[in-house]
């Protein structure tokens, strides 16, 4: 714990850790010192000069080293001749800060006036109007009349597209450089810069195509004026008309906390419409950030034209048909569900299936989840606490594309001193920040991971890690490959000393790696309010909280499904023939022609979904479900944190939440399940499922003070990211250790004229939850490439960007060819969900596509 420092601000005493900046100390006691360039997530630069205050420091007698005292015995203060910036000065013992003196106030007003000489003050038509720190300050402090001649005001371009997602109003920009610094320091993509200098300074990007970063939306949040606006929201609504609905992003396993801003609109018949997605602060999960996929595709699919709907009567009829099928098929039923479902849905499904003695499978190509329930993260985990002495391994995952916020946070962890090992068959964006990059050939994943301990430095880093965190993905792998990979990753824990510290086996906790609670405060981790492991007597032993195995899933709640025991089928197609197949929130037919065939061979198909998918189209019975934006529920993220989402807009007519639909179907089958509210489902779930014990809607929504204070409700100090008033979520308890499986996966070896095609994940793909995002269409289009080694491309007589034909099992598919010099010449990378069904490595033939 840092040393505590006592100071006064405007006479009010405050105690804060050493190193705290004056501006943050003031914020802590509710004193707002205006800032523009300072952002609590970035090192201060002191460039806008808005935060001028008077700072007195106790005088010390040079000769004696004793404090100099006033006549009344109080310490004599020394002031600088000039005002000082509160954002750059750390607190010191006995400091006295004055933010309200005439001198300080006039300094702040003067800076404000200078800023306004080049700002259009077009608040009435500005998207930021209503949540703008400059507007607030101007209302509060600016003179009624400008001393500046209007005609001489700085004029500049408006509506400059920096890319297709972010627009710049050069006139409004106050040159605080927050956006530039965010891109450089936090996102690690320095694609914004200043051009020119002095008053001519402009924000520019020279990147192609445009503002090319997957974190670009955040710059709009932290822009303290309306200079940067997002393409989806600009001219969309006024902030003060908007209501907030807390939610969790459903695009990836990170589970960024978000807020949906909604308002009532005539075009929705006076109903609520979502206007934008904003990040919501959760320091352990997404801090105050989110990625552009979450922002620009986060809810759009729930409004897609292909949304399934029915009349209430139609829905009842569909439920009736489903019931009839199930009553008939009973245990000859197979349920197939994906991690797109909420915990409450999955639990209801599990109960229904159990009552019918039917089989359930998790629909995923990413196996090995059983290891994450046993070796996953525990309470108190926080990627933000990783640092020196900790080791993070990322295996077969391109986090930048698969889980952008994890990429961001691991980059930061590496920069704080954590040892980051990136093991991948190709170059990924995280390589730049890694301490070690391990490159292997596709197919050698398991062998590579198994060989890590024997490597000098890497082995050391794993063996001596204070905390060992392992992310494993599915880059180039299918179900079998990922399962084997998960096991080899889990085995690494046994060579790490964290495992040597095994305590007595604990009922619900994994038996390793554990550590006796030493009582030694583990910095930030002990401050976690929901550190349940320390509260529960049976968990007197606990592991280091930042140690564990994390699956980089493709859905928001695969972890929740795994925790409840859902597992993928080894040979799914074979399981479906002749059965009544009840598919929920999954589109096997769309993903894979072979599965489409298998469904056709099923006796009956019941499809429950929100969108019209290929599976829905061939189903006998269709149950339209409500989207996550229209209901309550919880997701369990990859870090095993259960988080609540709330309804943002009303449920569409003729749809119901998945758990409610399932409960109704169950009721028809004579099985009584809870279908009234997710809260009641969670009450049962937490009793029935050991991992969820102690989880309740109340514990999930317990708010806690977070640092830094973002201050959404007053001066938008840290930007317009929302304050978290609805809880930080709860991390699950660990499950018993998974059984070891054999981990032999036979690698495919291409023959003459053949190539090894492996599936890779792109951030922007044509998956059902991304494709409807119109704003991202150009980005999706750019992602639709098959990557080859440059030598291969040349051999095929192609150039980058040319059409490449991929022949797989007799079927043809074309992609634009892209270059990737980091892979071997016999490999082609095929993006998932881009039209070509490839769920595991496969052998293909390649040739130049015939020109149309």
């Amino acid at each position: 714990m840092a040393k505590l420092i006592n100071l006064t601000i405007n006479g009010t005493p405050v105690t804060v850790p050493a190193g705290t900046l004056v501006v943050d100390a003031a914020k802590k006691i509710g004193i707002d010192i205006p800032v523009f360039c300072y952002h609590p997530k970035m090192e201060p630069v002191g460039m806008c000069r808005q935060c001028l205050v008077e700072i007195g420091r106790p005088m010390v007698d040079r000769a004696t080293g004793q404090p100099v005292l006033n006549e009344d015995g109080s310490p004599k203060l020394q002031f600088m001749p000039k005002l000082e910036t509160a954002c750059t000065n750390p607190v010191s013992e006995g400091m006295a800060v004055f933010t309200e003196t005439a001198k300080a106030k006039s300094g702040q007003k003067e800076i404000l006036e200078l800023l306004l000489t080049s700002h259009p003050l077009d608040c009435p038509v500005c998207d930021k109007g209503g949540e703008c720190p400059l507007q607030n300050l101007t209302m509060e402090h600016a003179a009624d009349e400008s001393r500046f001649i209007f005609d001489e005001k700085h004029r500049a371009e408006k509506h400059v597209p920096l890319g297709d997602l972010i627009f710049l109003d050069r006139e409004r920009c106050i040159q605080c450089a927050r956006c530039i610094r965010f891109q450089d320091i936090i996102a690690g993509e320095p694609v914004l810069g200043f051009y020119q200098r002095g008053r001519n300074t402009d924000i520019v990007t020279y990147g192609e195509p445009g503002f090319d970063s997957i974190f670009s939306g955040n710059t709009s949040d932290i822009c303290p004026v309306g200079a940067l606006t997002t393409a989806d929201f600009r001219f969309g609504a006024r902030p003060w008309e908007l209501k907030q609905a807390a939610s969790v992003c459903s695009q990836c396993p990170v589970g960024c906390n978000v807020t949906f801003n909604v308002r009532r609109e005539a075009k929705a018949g006076g109903g609520y419409v979502i206007k934008r997605v904003m990040p919501r602060q959760n320091e352990q999960v997404n801090e105050i950030w989110m990625c552009d996929k979450g922002r620009f595709a986060g809810y759009q699919y729930t409004e897609a034209e292909s949304r399934l709907m029915a009349t209430p009567a139609g829905l009842d009829a569909a439920v009736g048909q489903a019931v009839a099928k199930l009553v008939e098929s009973q245990s000859e039923t197979v349920f197939l569900a994906s991690g797109r479902l909420a915990n409450e849905d999955l639990f209801t499904l599990k109960q229904l299936a159990a009552a019918l003695h039917a089989k359930t499978y998790l629909y995923t190509q990413h196996g090995g989840g059983e290891f994450t329930t046993a070796y996953g993260l525990t309470s108190g985990a926080d990627l933000g606490a990783l640092g020196k002495g900790d080791t993070v391994l990322v295996a077969a995952s391109d986090l930048y594309n698969e889980a952008p916020l994890w990429h961001l946070r691991l980059k930061a962890a590496a920069q704080r001193g954590a040892t980051l090992i990136v093991a991948a068959a190709r170059a990924t964006k995280l390589d730049e920040f890694a301490s070690f990059v391990v490159r292997y050939a596709y197919g050698d994943e398991v062998a590579t991971i198994q060989a890590l301990p024997a490597k000098d430095k890497i082995g050391e880093a794993i063996k001596n890690a204070n905390n060992l965190m392992i992310f494993y993905g599915s880059d180039g792998l299918g179900l079998a490959g990922t399962t084997a990979l998960a096991q080899s990753c889990a085995e690494l824990f046994s060579i790490s000393p964290v495992s040597q510290l095994t305590g007595s086996p604990v009922s619900q906790s994994a038996s390793f790696p554990v550590e006796q609670l030493t009582g030694k405060p583990e910095d930030r981790t002990t401050e976690q309010p929901e550190d349940r492991t320390t509260e529960q007597p049976e968990n007197r032993t606990t592991r280091k909280s930042n140690t564990g195995l994390i699956g980089v899933w493709s859905t928001p709640n695969q972890q929740g499904a795994l925790e409840m025991g859902f597992r993928p089928a080894e040979n799914l197609a074979a399981e479906l023939a002749g059965k009544t197949v009840y598919v929920i929130a999954a589109d096997p037919a769309g993903d894979d022609p072979a599965l489409a065939e298998a469904l056709k061979a099923a006796k009956t198909v019941i499809a429950q979904d929100i969108l019209t998918t290929k599976t829905v189209k061939l189903a006998d019975v269709v149950l339209p479900a409500a989207a996550f934006t229209e209901r309550e529920g919880t997701y369990t993220n990859g870090e095993r944190r259960v988080q609540r989402f709330y309804p943002a807009v009303p449920t569409r007519p003729g749809t119901k939440a998945d758990f409610a639909l399932l409960a109704e179907v169950a009721k028809g089958c004579g099985i009584a399940l809870e279908g009234r509210s997710p809260l009641l489902v969670m009450n049962r779930l937490s009793t029935a499922e050991p991992a969820f014990s102690g989880v309740s809607y109340e514990t999930l929504s317990q708010p806690a003070e977070q640092w830094p204070l973002i201050g959404r409700s007053d001066l938008y100090y840290g930007g317009t990211s929302y304050e978290n008033k609805l809880g930080l979520g709860v991390t699950l308890a660990l499950q018993p250790k998974a059984d070891r499986q054999s981990s032999t996966v036979s690698g495919l070896r291409p023959k003459e004229n053949e190539f090894l095609a492996v599936p890779v994940t792109k951030l922007y793909d044509l998956g059902a939850t991304v494709a409807p995002a119109k704003l991202l269409s150009a980005h999706i289009e750019r992602s639709a490439v098959a990557a080859l080694h440059p030598v291969t491309v040349e051999k095929l007589g192609l150039g980058a960007g040319d059409q490449l034909s991929v022949e797989i099992n007799g079927a043809q598919f074309t992609f634009r060819a892209a270059l990737d010099a980091s892979i071997s010449t016999g490999v082609v990378l095929i993006p998932r969900s881009m039209g070509l069904a490839i769920s595991a490595p496969a052998l293909v033939k390649l040739h130049a596509a015939e020109k149309a």
């Binding site: 005002l83 003067e110 800076i111 200078l114 000489t117 200098r197 002095g198």
Partner: protein, 418 residues
């Protein structure tokens, strides 16, 4: 008296390394490296009382002693950005007396334990950089730079780096950013370059003229150096004299020489029978000294050193003395200076960036006779508003001439709109 810094005026071929050597060249470097401990060099320079010639006049030896002993490597960076309007002394030194200058840089490197030194020249000094590169190559060839200097364990290498047209790069932290390949914008201080400087390492930054004094100090000792100048401002200084003067140019004179001697004895007085009206002793950043009949003698008899110039309401700065005769008015002068500062403001901080933009509009209108009395007041108030609030000193610099012009030459601001 023979020149100390502008020795080429006495020995025209001194830019030839052989001529330089014949005239005692590199003896000081050799003496320092072979007979003195680095600490002793620092102490000698401290004792000499040498003050930085780049403008601020900070004691050089004291600055060197701030470098921490436990953080390495150390760097020496020479500030050869020379961009203050009215300053042109470093250019003459580097062009005509390059070896003495480079010897000085090498001595500084030895004193602070730097094996590497950078000379940051303004981009316009391209030909000088070429020449210095040739000189450096020659010195390496002859064993005055490189490894095992004079048979000791000492290594010193010097390199030139060209700026590209930015006055702000004369500000020491902006200069460091520029060498690091970034926009030349000042850094937040603290930490000071002595602790976190070039590439994050402890760094000494000194002006060309400052460093060119070093061979003399090592040769003649602190006492020898103090033969010239005053107690608090010892040594000689190059005064760059420009503007309305008969013989503009550089004059190497002891600190404490009077304005009268500089302007009339050396500069040949004001040409065309005009009267001297104003002096800007520190270039465009000066507070303007008014030279009325009433104060003429007082000003003329003021010794030009760091303390005394303050007594007439200005600063010595880099001693770039600009003379303004009675054909010019101050509204024109400050329009020029603000034009400069507006152009050179780096834009990092609000008061300088927006203040200069605003002040330029005002001075232009005032100079064009289209302003009201209110505008003059406003200009003064904007200057006051900028002063003391900026990230670096450029912002303050921009306000000096403005405020003193309005205060001291009120009649020049009366030709305003009715």
């Amino acid at each position: 008296m023979p020149h100390i810094l502008l020795r080429h005026r006495d020995i025209p071929d001194i830019k030839n390394i052989e001529v330089y050597k014949q005239n005692g060249g590199f003896e000081s470097l050799k003496k320092a490296v072979t007979t003195l401990q680095p600490k002793q060099v620092v102490e000698e320079v401290k004792a000499s009382g040498l003050r930085g010639r780049g403008g601020a006049g900070f004691p050089t030896g004291v600055k060197w002693s701030f470098l921490p002993d436990n953080l390495w490597p150390h760097y020496v960076v020479c500030n050869a950005d020379e961009s203050e309007p009215g300053t042109f002394k470093d250019r003459e030194i580097m062009t005509y007396n390059p070896y003495q200058f480079l010897e000085g840089v090498a001595i500084a490197c030895y004193a602070v334990g730097a094996t590497e030194g950078y000379i940051y020249l303004r981009g316009e000094f391209y030909p000088i950089a070429e020449q210095l590169d040739a000189c450096l190559a020659e010195m390496e060839k002859q064993g005055y730079l490189g490894d095992k200097l004079f048979g000791t364990e000492t290594s010193i290498r010097l390199k030139t780096h060209l700026g590209a047209g930015a006055y702000i790069c004369g500000e020491e932290t902006a200069l460091l950013e520029s060498i690091e390949g970034k926009r030349g914008q000042p850094r937040l201080r603290p930490p000071f370059p002595a602790v976190v400087g070039l590439y994050g390492k402890p760094t000494v930054i000194n002006n060309v003229e400052t460093l060119t004094n070093l061979p003399y100090i090592i040769e003649h000792g602190a006492a020898g150096f103090r033969q010239n100048g005053t107690e608090k401002s010892p040594g000689v200084k190059i005064f760059s004299l420009s503007g309305n003067v008969a013989n503009p140019g550089n004059y190497e004179l002891p600190l404490g020489t009077t304005f009268r001697e500089l302007i009339f004895t050396h500069g040949g007085g004001i040409p065309n029978g005009r009267k001297l009206r104003a002096i800007m002793p520190a270039g465009a950043s000066s507070s303007i000294i008014r030279v009325d009949d009433a104060v003429f003698d007082k000003v003329m008899d003021t010794p030009m050193d760091y303390e005394n110039v303050q007594s007439v309401g200005s600063m010595l700065g880099s001693a770039s003395v600009i003379l303004i005769d009675d054909t010019h008015t101050m509204d024109w002068v400050i329009n020029k200076t603000i034009h400069f500062f507006k152009h050179e403001s780096c834009g990092k901080c609000t008061p300088c960036r927006d203040g200069n933009y605003w002040m330029l509009h005002l001075t232009e209108r005032i100079h064009a006779g289209q302003a009201s009395a209110q505008d003059v007041k406003l200009l003064d108030s904007v200057a006051a508003q900028v002063y003391g609030k900026c990230l670096c000193a450029l912002g303050d610099f921009s306000t000096m001439a403005v405020r003193t012009a309005i205060e001291r030459f009120p009649e020049d601001f009366e030709k305003v709109k009715a």
